[in-house]
Symmetry: C2
Subunit: 285 residues, 2 copies
């Protein structure tokens, strides 16, 4: 999905948020904002939002010297989600359809996203997602593909949210024999996306058969970019791809055979999916 | 009040909205957005938001050749408000405190603002403002000053909203003998602000003793800018100044002796006032 003109002001807002996480110095805030404006002015806007985002966040990193502006909120939401985990696990166990409940919770966890906006209410979102029909619901197709899957690629998204992903993977493994799970994290910090350290912190490495792959964010050595043919080959070679969140959708919406699990949190993505902001999406056909 | 860094992405959003009102051509949308970015990059951000806004909206006018991008929604909201007028008039007449109800309605009408965002619900806002305590409430001071006023300056804001202003002025004139009312409109179209044509369309020119003054928007001949000493002298020379909306607050918040009636619609102004977005404000001390 190509960036939309509406993404441009949104990138400025995001840069401002990121730099404010690193310092209270307003001169630095203005310096970063001006630099982002200059660069946005120069680049081609016909890229995907994640392609532009990595340029924007590189400026914040370079100008502030802070490699992980969101580190504090990342840690905070990993801990909040870990605290919720036992009660969520119980909710899944006692559900009529545990797999569907685990999918619902994995989508609810996608609210923990500092990209589109900085205010969200996790517990309200969980309760809303558990009680609201999905706007796009390809769950039966999801189960059908899952039942014949040996090799799964799971594209993770944010810190905190990965605790919900862990619960979904555990619920899947109790029902289906998946031999190989490749869980994609970001190869370096960007916004509040989960890295391998976050994933290990919440215990994703304890999932049997799970190995990590790294998604690049424009930093050398951070991993394969989502538009790299070698990355796309990994997706094609697996039996099933589960993709979490807006960023992965933005980068991969033109690829076939991916199950996109997300909350539509911005008007551009909502429009692309044909849904409204706030809608719940499991799209896989 | 100086522009805040958060205003910068907001100006881009506003430019995009304005150009979309004039044409569906996305190439023109991008061209305008890039031009606005270039200019924002060059200018001093330590101006008030209305000072920057007139630069931004001049670009939209120049690039599209459209002098009044918001003309359609302006007409629409003048008509919607005129349709509501009889029932609002009745509400004021039968109220316990008609003047306070008229003030409440004048503030509720301030929701008709395409500057901060494009979605709002007028009837819901009316009902909310009538049933919610003001966050800042200097109404008794407002009445006190009004009771000794012969010469009033009323700084209008948006189309549609001016119908609510008319109702407030009528309600005032039924109670107090004001000899001279100078009602300020914009000297040329900007966003959905009311011009003299809009004011006449809703019948403001029928208010006894009312004459119009024009606020400049950076177009030669459009009137005195709000930061012009001659304009400030007009305010000082009157017994009372009633100022509607965010733009007038942004331009004049450092001036003493003005009653600001507004809904806080953006986080920057809410912070400056020490209130929350959505709060109702009558500030006059």
């Amino acid at each position: 999905m190509r960036a939309h003109l509406d993404c441009i002001p949104c990138f400025l807002r995001q840069a401002l948020q990121a730099v404010r996480f690193t310092t209270m110095n307003e001169e630095i805030h203005e310096k970063v904002l001006r630099k982002v404006i200059t660069v946005l002015q120069e680049i081609d806007w016909k890229q995907t939002p994640p392609q532009i985002a990595r340029i924007v966040h590189k400026i914040v990193r370079d100008e502030t010297g802070e490699l992980d502006p969101y580190s504090k909120v990342k840690q905070e939401y990993n801990d909040i989600a870990l605290e919720l985990y036992p009660s969520l696990k119980e909710k899944v166990k006692t559900a009529k359809n545990p797999l569907f409940t685990a999918v619902q919770l994995a989508i609810a966890g996608n609210i923990i996203d500092f990209g589109p906006k900085s205010k969200f209410n996790l517990t309200q979102t969980i309760s809303k997602v558990l009680n609201t029909p999905f706007k796009i619901n390809h769950f039966s197709k999801f189960v059908e593909v899952l039942s014949t899957t040996q090799s799964l690629v799971y594209l993770g998204d944010n810190t905190g949210e990965i605790v919900f992903d862990k619960l979904l993977l555990e619920t899947i493994l109790e029902r289906y024999k998946i031999e190989r799970i490749r869980f994609a994290v970001k190869g370096a910090p960007i916004i509040n996306d989960a890295t391998i350290e976050d994933a290990k912190y919440v215990g994703l490495d304890k999932i049997p058969g799970l190995e990590f792959i790294k998604i690049g964010i424009g930093i050398p050595g951070s991993g394969l970019e989502r538009w790299d043919t070698r990355f796309l080959k990994i997706l094609r070679d697996s039996n099933m791809v589960i993709s979490k969140g807006q960023g992965n959708y933005e980068a991969l919406s033109d690829q076939k055979g991916i199950f996109f699990l997300l909350l539509a949190k911005c008007p551009v993505i909502a429009r692309d999916l044909g849904v409204e902001v706030g809608d719940i999406v499991l799209k896989g056909v």
